[in-house]
Amino acid sequence: MTDPRPDCQTVARWLQTFLDREIDAPRANEVRTHLDDCRWCGLERDAYLEIKRIVSSGLAVPVDEARAIERLRAFAERLAHDGDGA
């Protein structure tokens, strides 16, 4: 009988969908079980969690992007306030 448990390579392939909660429940359980036992994959998970934390904090939004969004908000506010001149 073959071992149905996913190996490190398979877990690496599923890891992003696991962390983004885009994976189905049975697979998520398999990944979770593997991550509990495997130090190496656990380290990978921690790295990606940290990356996700930093990116989702908005810290990683580049200055030029933040400035563009600021200008666009001002544009939106003028539009809301003054109309489109039509």
Binding site: Q16, D64, I69, L72, E77
Partner: protein
């Protein structure tokens, strides 16, 4: 100001303004250039403003992104070929600058992640941001960018992998774990 104008102002503020960041990131992923993305979002916001009265209020993001994509098609109908495959074409990378004073306050791990994000192909960066900053699901990201879900997955995988490799190269793997 008539009452219709007042309610339109209010609806625009509540519905459209909170999505400016998302619209910019979608536009940036489509245009691959900051200035063009900004023009496109302005045009989309004008169109959204004009069609607010007929919008039923359901699925604001879907509505806005449809407007944005239509605006993009019109803007480029004459000037350039429709689809440059961002996963194949070389990127026109906008220079990224960061405030050194703010960077100095960050940890080594954070600085390294930021540098890695800045170095990403803009399409990878925008896809990662749409999922992690704007909170889109894979299906939503695929829909707004007009690509298959598999493309979203591979962009996320490759983008994050590049960031992870920077951490590894810098010898920072595991250093965020308080020991």
């Amino acid at each position: 100001m008539t009452s219709t104008d007042a309610s339109r102002t209010e609806r625009f503020r509540t519905l459209v303004e909170p999505e400016v960041g998302l619209l910019y990131r979608v536009a940036h992923a489509l245009e691959r250039n900051g200035a063009d993305a900004e023009d496109l979002v302005q045009e989309a916001m004008l169109r959204a403003y004009r069609s607010l009265d007929t919008f039923d209020g359901v699925n604001v993001r879907g509505w806005l992104v449809t407007i944005l994509r239509n605006a993009q098609r019109n803007l480029h109908r004459r000037t350039r070929p429709e689809a440059v495959d961002p996963d194949v074409a070389a990127a026109t990378v906008d220079p990224v600058e960061r405030d050194p004073a703010l960077l100095a306050e960050r940890s080594d791990v954070e600085r390294t992640v930021l540098a890695a994000v800045d170095a990403l192909d803009p399409v990878y960066r925008d896809t990662v941001s749409l999922v992690d900053v704007d909170g889109l699901t894979y299906a939503e990201a695929a829909e707004v960018l007009g690509v298959p879900i598999g493309t979203i997955m591979s962009r996320l995988h490759r983008g994050r992998r590049q960031i992870r490799d920077r951490l590894a190269t810098a010898g920072l793997m595991g250093l965020w774990v308080a020991t």
